[in-house]
Amino acid sequence: MASVVHSANVTVTDQRCTDPVVLNLWHPIAAVLELEPGGEHRSRLLGAHLTYGITSVGDLWASADGQELPVIERYGYLWTSLGSPEGGDSLGIPFEIPEAHEPDRRNMNAGSFQVATSAPRAIENFLDMGHFPYVHTDLLGVEPHTEVADYQVDIHDGEIWATDCLFFQPVAAASATGGQISEYTYRVPHPFCVMLYKNVPTDPSRRDVIAIFVQAMTEETVRVHNFYSMVDETTSDNGLRRFQQVIFSQDKPILENQRPTKLPLDPRVETPIRADQSAIVYRRWLTELGLTYAVIPA
């Protein structure tokens, strides 16, 4: 029997974040359209207790434990920061999604779901194709199409890009009508945000964008905001929301049963395979950023 290595770890998930890398980021809080004008909403961010809302004249605001916070609106969401985000208090941007600015796009929040996991675990799950046939059976994948072909992962301008990701999907999207090999491009522009680009079936020159913006409430609880920027005209907003809800309800029990909840950055702690190339690069990238919140540093 192999010797047992003990590593005791007292998990205190509720403390306020002290990691400057994470503090200085913009974080998504809520879909602006879902805010009730004049109302006061509560949530958490990086352990802090937030109140936020939109005034009756349309100004966004947020504060943490009585202290006013910078706010911006991007892609239909309210973003805030507990530190000094890049670009100054209210001028910074989390990152650019040029597609979302096209005039004929439908941009929407397809749901904000709370999950007992860490933000980086949620990001890795989004990057992961290998689980499609097992977790999203008959929707995003199906046996015997379990193989994950090798794909390309690079870092460009400080963002992770995974290209040439091919996977057989029975119902790749709410609008799909039969099995197809989907080609995806994944992009990680922010430690807690990830998106995928998918060719539009009716117009191969354009790409639909599906993203998750993860709000790290604490190290081990998150709210996942599902952002769609679609050219697809066939499916109603509710159809897209329902599809996303089904997918998410399948991921949730898996994410909540991952141990440890925080993402271990040491590559030896778990067993990556070729199919996990994007996760391998993501863990390395987080290590290089010096991020320590919601992870177990290498």
Binding site: A2, S7, V10, E147, A275
Partner: protein
Amino acid sequence: MTESGSFGGEDVAQRWFPVAASSDAPFRHVAQAKLLGREYAIWRADDGYVNAWENRCLHRGVRLSIGQNEGTELRCTYHGWRYSSRSGGCTYIPAHPADAPAQTICNQTYRCEERHGLIWVTEAGTGELPRHAAFGSSTSEDASLALRALPLNAPASLVLEMLEAYPAHTAAEATGSHSFQFQVADGDGGGVVAFVQPVDEAHCVIRPVLVDAPPDSRRLEVLRSEALILNRFREVVEQEAASRPSTPVIERDILPVLGRAASETSVSFAPSQSRTELRVVVTTKTPVADGVMSFEFAPIATPGEPAVLPTAQPGAHIDVQLPNGLIRQYSLTNRSGDQERYVIGVKLEPESTGGSTCLHETVREGDVLAISAPRNNFPLRRSATRTILIAGGIGLTPLLAMAETLHAAGQPFEFHCFARSQAHLPFASRLEAMGASVTTHLGLDPSQTARAIEQALGRHEPAAHVYLCGPAPMLDAAQQIAADSDWPEDAVHFEYFANTNEVDRSSSFEISLARSSLTLSVGPGETILDVLRSNGVPLDASCQQGACGTCVVELLDGEPQHQDVHLKPSERAAGDRIITCVSRAAAGERLVLDI
């Protein structure tokens, strides 16, 4: 007791504790248990063996207790990785179905026993599960009855402490650490032994066992008063626990793979001399067809270690070190996860160099043999829509493992077995058990065989795969037929028993090792493998005649002269790998190897 830690004692890792009732691990179920802050996945294989594993998939940490018990294997819910009963080794990774998982991908397993209707685990103990005096001989043990477990919001140490302080509450007596005994009613024989399972710093479970199950007439009465006594005791203990400052619960085993990974890397680069380092005992030797003998090998138990064989995947083979000094390769016929024994089939080849003769004539039941861990260069894609298995003679052995794996999983397959006559068909009874999925073809000549293979293959459909194993002329013909029927090469998988081609070893050439920038020369009569090994480069090899593919190395540059029968035509043409035991380069050429 509290001074010696919140678990009420030193050396708890060495002790055995109950973690579940036997009834918590029914057929095809996976239970979750917790002991000393560590989580376990407990599951019973179809053969009754109870596995206690760390509750965490090696891949991405998902709890194995939410996985599926498939009878001999446990399947993780997230990416479908399968792990074998007993060894805990990974048998299948669906994202890379063409690659056999490395032997090093193996779950942390714990020693586990069943007694008194309870499942017992020790975290690191090397001794046997001790007998509790109250149960006496094994006959009275059979009469015991495990009662309903009682979870407590209190540490185990407090339960034991309170027993000493308040014996009146239970009229109980501590009977050694982590158990106590009490009488339920007059004349109930041995009374109740209650075992205390320390769950974590703040929780424990009391698991009571009646030493003698009462007669039916008194059963209800006994159970009722037992429950009354324990519930009263629980109340007192929990009240006391609530009045004390709470102890933080420590989650253990967050990063368990670290230590193992480091030591395992060295295992996979172990020097080749130690490749037959496993000792097994021959438990049965039986004829299974004319001239074919089957051998069963069982692991040899060492004190404190469970006797477990390394994980074998369907298609795998082992090296067997024979008493006459020869080393021979044999395919395992076991289905995936069925690891109690290794079973091989050996055909007597009187013409050959003496491997089979030695096994047939010299080796006896009870003998100890040295074997290697299984290697798999013939992996089975386990979620294909159509699987065709074509076996010639003794070539049936690896395909039998595949067929039984698919059969057990309820997946369709077509197994075609070619043999000279019924009497020559090995393992006929195991074939029969798979019913209509097996077709036998007896006494056919080469052209009839070719026709039967053509019919068996039909046209290729997407996600259909064929596996071939048998004598060289049959395999050559079958590959040709598959190609002519438009089967793509990546759907046709084969394993030759032997390389019957004439191997030319006359050239002398150079090899460069890219990773160490070393250049070595290979002379006539030498092989690349020889030269690498004699220069201290540890490289795994098995058959050493270009059939099994174990000694493959990636080739970065240079023109190889392939002489093996392992690589497929397209792999040969790609020129990016070489079988180092037989293949070489033309005279004066140079090969750059990725090692």
